[in-house]
Amino acid sequence: MGKTRSYKAQKVVDLMKAKTKSRQIMLSLESCVKCGQCIDQCHYVLANPDDPTFAPPYKADKLRKFFKAHEDWTGKVIPWWVGARSIYTDEELEELKDVVFGKCTGCRRCSLVCPMGVDMATFNGMARNLLYSVGIMPEGVWAVAKDQWEIGNQMGVLKEDYLDTLEWMEEELQSKHNDPSIKIPIDKKGADIMYTINPREAKYDPRSIADAAEIFHFAGADWCMPSEGWDMTNFGLFVGDPSLGAAASSRLYTAAQELGVNKVVISECGHGYRSTKCEGPNWAKMDLDFPMESSVITMLDYIKQGKIKVDKSKNSEKVTYHDSCNFARSCGMTEEPREVLSLVCSDIQEMYPNRQWNYCCTGGGGAMSMSEYAPMRLKSAKIKAEQLRATGAKIVVTSCHNCVDGLTDLIKHYNLDMKVTQLVNLVANALVVPASKMPKVMKEVSMPLAGKKILVIDDEPDVRIFLTKIFKENGCEVFEAPDANQGMRIIRDKNPDLVSLDMILPHKTGEKLYWELRKDEKYKKLPVVIVSGYTKIDDPKIDFDAFLEDKGIPAPQGFVEKPIHPDVLIETISGVLLEKV
């Protein structure tokens, strides 16, 4: 009697048979000769030399075994001889999940050295899709994919928040240059350029939007941003799902077609660029009649054509350039960013290895949304950290938002004296504004929170980075914790003036920590501001009011809802701290 297979395993087997009809995928699965050439090209292997389970062919074999059991001639007849084995249980699917999501960022470094041309990244994506199809994936991946399906962008930024952010950035620019003619045009029909961004910019890094707008403005570009279809990222790439890929990319293509723009410019993002320019037309099965280019090319053209003037002495700190895997290895963008860098920075140190052989930032493949694998990710980041440290640079530049987060996280973890930025920020900083457009009045900056100690407890690295940046800009000393236990330790050690607390945390919830603080004689008066996107509408289990009532404890000093508006945040925090004073 044959072995029984769980419902999910059977579904995965059926789907696998359909997926491996593609010649490219089938060949990658069939061709490995186990020569081992790719093994020490993988950053996971280099950082974990004693653990052979990180080796690319070992990871690939988790899927290859089961492909062979169903499709390969010898594998079907004498499976044990060629290491073929089908998949039967949900536990095996979970194991496969840990490999394809947790142990491979799909960086393609191994593919580029494989003498056979085995494309690990492509079939790792396929394996992710098989699991995704039966609901097996890291929780964070599910949340992001859901947002992209439902809301139309992977960070769940609502249309009104996005438009608010654009308006806010427009006002900032106008006040910076004392020039009300500076605009961020929205939905301008027939514009030359439609500029598309990563939702991370709208949510956590609006400064990048302002910088791009500044560049477009001073270059005299006829441009706009769409009110729909503005997200150029695509989680379809990370879950290997062509349907999600098609849904997300066609939204953007349709926006471009409806506006009748001449070209789409994609802001600096490795996977966004690859998804929108390379994979999107395949997923959406659309032959597009407008070109798409990276903003790196646009900026380079503006500088070369003299449309904007830059002064490289304005960026005088030593910089190095990190190649995003998707941008460099999967799209060949290695020289253009370096050319821009050489035009806007005066002290550049190349990192080694570089270009197509650079190491992954370790946050690729959607890894930043998989908090359960964060310790493994950060351990594997050792290689990247050493590579960065060896440059002696103070700034690492990258053309990818994912890499910004991945690098920021590892820089902090390995205590590197470095910060991360993008070309758009450096170009904007190096801009030489024509004298006629110089700001007349410098805005006075006051820092009511200067010197305050704030602890940010949030499991999402993106959010921590964003909050830290805002608090630091307002003169605070900031501590970060990814979970409640670490948060409690920092409270004891550092005695912060205020805690910014997320509700949904791994292991112990924010609610529970809040309750513990209020029970503790020493901390019961410690100001806490809840910064969370979850309400009882999202999840009925989270009824914080009922919880407070049930425990008989007072409400926290403040609430700030995600997506976070910096003004609201600072207003709330100032209110709490200054009132306390």
């Binding site: 593609s22 060949l27 389970t53």
Partner: protein
């Protein structure tokens, strides 16, 4: 054929073309199977420099194995490349020599030719042993290896060993099958045991190969071609500025 030849050897030589035909037929089916899988189309607009097209990328990819400087792993470990080349030359030569030895042994009558071939066999044999040892003793290689991986490698090493032993008999064999006059060779004595073993091993090898990992060379051109097409179309292949990638 001459009278001195062992009937078993004679039998084996006569069956060789059937074995080769069998191998060719299985390969034909394999190629048909590969082609039955539709190749995906890349709709994105071509990107990159003028010399980076899907065709140039495909050719570049196909021959990148002959350009070790384009493969980071071989740049970092040149000795791995050297042994890779030796081993593959040796195996390709063994297969060719099976046919030459059986049908035109007269071509192998010069002692210098035999000496060169034997040097290559010896080098290939040593590399093969090293590769087998690496597979057995390295924990990571052990973890990724199946019985077929060990067996294929061991089979190749033994076969190359026998090829080494047998190739020296080419002049005597040429005399035995009437391609050469006995007066033209130093010895007409055939050492039949290794010869019989060699032929049966060769027959087994040729029948086994299409079902083992050794058949990877059938996949090689397809896999590299398609990979290169995509990489060329997207402006990655041929790689730019390789000189700048690693040099310090």
């Amino acid at each position: 054929m001459g009278n001195e030849i062992n009937p078993l050897v004679e039998f084996a030589v006569h069956q060789l073309h059937w074995v080769l035909l069998f191998m060719g037929t299985v390969y034909a089916f394999k190629i048909r199977w590969i082609l039955k899988h539709p190749a995906g189309k890349d709709r994105q607009a071509p990107t990159g420099e003028a010399n980076q097209t899907s065709k140039s990328g495909a050719w570049y990819s196909l021959f990148s194995i002959a350009m070790p400087w384009t493969l980071n792993s071989y740049r970092e470990k040149p000795m791995m490349y050297v042994q890779f080349v030796i081993f593959h030359i040796c195996v390709a030569m063994s297969i060719t020599m099976t046919i030459v030895f059986s049908y035109r042994p007269v071509w192998l009558s010069a002692p210098a030719t035999i000496a060169v071939i034997q040097v290559i066999y010896a080098a290939g044999f040593i590399v093969g042993l090293y590769r087998l040892a690496r597979r057995v003793f390295s924990p990571v290689m052990r973890m990724i290896s199946s019985p077929d991986d060990y067996f294929s490698m061991a089979l190749l090493v033994v076969w190359v060993g026998f090829s080494f032993l047998v190739i020296g008999q080419a002049p005597a064999f040429a005399v035995a099958i009437g391609q050469l006059d006995a007066s033209q060779v130093a010895s007409t004595q055939l050492n039949e045991i290794p010869l019989i073993a060699y032929y049966f091993l060769t027959a087994f090898f040729l029948i086994y190969v299409p079902f083992s990992k050794i058949s990877h060379y059938i996949f090689y051109p397809f896999t590299r071609w398609h990979f290169g097409q995509t990489m060329g179309h997207r402006g990655i292949y041929p790689l730019k500025r390789i000189d700048k990638m690693k040099a310090r």
